[in-house]
Amino acid sequence: MLIFERSSPGRIARAQVPADTAAPDDLPADQLRADPPLLPECSELDVVRHYTGLSRKNFSIDTQFYPLGSCTMKYNPRACNSLAMLPQFLARHPLADADTGQGFLTSLYELQEMLKEVTGMAAVSLAPMAGAQGEFAGVAMIRAYHEARGDAARDEIIIPDAAHGTNPATAIMCGYQVKEIPTDRQGNVDLEALRAAVGPRTAGLMLTNPSTLGVFEKAIVEIQRIVHAAGGLSYYDGANLNAILARVRPGDMGFDVIHMNLHKTFSTPHGGGGPGAGPVGVSERLKPYLPIPYVLSERGFHRWAEEADCPESIGRMSAFGGNMGVLLRAFVYARMLGGEGMRRVAEYASLNAGYLAAELMKAGFELSFPGRRASHEFIVTLKGLKDETGVTAMDFAKRLLDYGFHAPTTYFPLLVPECLLIEPTETESKETLDAFVAAMVAVKREAEDRPEWVKSAPHALPVRRLDDVKAARELDVVWRP
């Protein structure tokens, strides 16, 4: 039911009516609308019940285990939210002087420093406003570096076939051609194919590690050495940083640039389209090109670095300095954990993933890379089950909802047929993981015994299967009386 359907003409919530409304008498008459806008007319209690009812239908990490993991969003500790909402932060104007914003600027500076430390990079800019913008900034810096050296023939970016789709999209946006290289049977980058792909046209390599297949690249140092030897730069997609936080550092592996999705690893809100934050870290040679503004520290005084400070910068990513509210939440998260805490995040994230993988394998599930240790996530393939029973990964995922578990990522990565990509994250207890295994086993048994029941799931939720085709073809969300 929509809030519009609760509307009754003339009903109003007096307490919410503004005391005085500005009359728009300075607007040209032809710009004024003749009819009032179509808005629902409801009492306060109608509104409270409506939205409380909707919130109870929500399937979220606040109510259920959510094995989409950091891929979508980790649990956000409440303290991150409440501290970032201190009035001194909230009420600050983005153009206020540095003199009056030292607390705010110091917080951002410390976040830059902590991200530098945890990734091993030489410098960090918080400016990109999402992971995709961070990727764009990263490849734009690679381009700026080659152009500054007059090395204009480099027009290719090498990307493994396991990559997220954003990597090739970013390379194209930055004016490069994409050269795809395959993955070997163990889930590693095919080194021979990489050696054959690099050359005088190689601008760089974009690599996600651990890869989307949930495994750590065994030859990571060799990979980036091959790229450097050919004169290219190496880009580390930080999408899966949760597995390696403070354990191994992309800077130590020799990478030139990394972007970090703060919602994935540093527990900022995400979903519903943002706002996001995708800081970039760089090696010494890319430092001059960092996007502005970033925070400088001069004898304890903090201020924004602007064009005059860094004339070779690739420029601004947004009107101001990034999504401040999100950055502050990440700052609180990083400060609460500290270096030791971050290390434990990675340890528990991989321990939980490894435990789930082992228990599911024991229960008869087929893992995509059974010989490899799970990083922070792993892949189950239901190809065998589908061939046998007709139950697909999507059916399986829908039935899990009936058992009170959010479905894992389905049908990604594209390299694995009928797959579930499972990521528990560090915050789940053993009891929760055991309950999830029990649900997986129960659904598998149902798929074998009564496949039709699984294929028509969910049965216990307010909405059954949605009409995906209709939603895509006739997308019209405007309510009409």
């Binding site: 190809k383 049908y411 047929p417 995906d468 085709v469 939603a471 895509a472 073809r473």
Partner: protein, 127 residues
């Protein structure tokens, strides 16, 4: 899984049928539509466009993903199937009946797979 023996195939999962007038009909295979799921949009090349072999020339979009369709051979687009554009679900219902466009090839056909070779290709892809 159906792979009719009278058709030819590409590694990128298009099928090709020789028509009586010398043109070639192009569609996507049963395997391709199964992987993509329910189709929602089809975008065909414009009539008269000259295509190079392997060129991206059409797009099919399903509830899961949008995928490029590649020209299986070089030639001119001489017909497009508007019925499939209007009802993309035909591709799911009858993948080998729902041709998308027709090409008049500009040279000899080469590099296409027969049904056996395509079946082998599918097995290799599945690893």
């Amino acid at each position: 899984m159906s792979i009719p023996t009278e058709l030819q195939y590409t590694k990128s999962h298009e099928w090709v049928r020789q028509e009586a007038d010398g043109s070639l009909s192009v569609g996507i295979t049963h395997h391709a539509q199964e992987l993509l799921g329910d189709m929602v949009f089809v975008e065909n090349p414009v009539l008269g466009r000259m295509l190079a072999a392997g060129e991206e020339c059409a797009v099919v979009e399903s509830v899961k993903a949008a995928s490029d369709i590649y020209a299986p051979v070089a030639g001119e687009v001489v017909a497009v199937n508007e019925a499939v554009e209007a009802s993309p679900e035909r591709i799911n219902q009858d993948p080998y009946g729902a041709w998308m466009f027709r090409i008049r090839p500009s040279g000899e056909l080469s590099g296409l797979l027969d049904a056996t070779a395509y079946a082998t290709h599918l097995e290799t892809e599945a690893r």
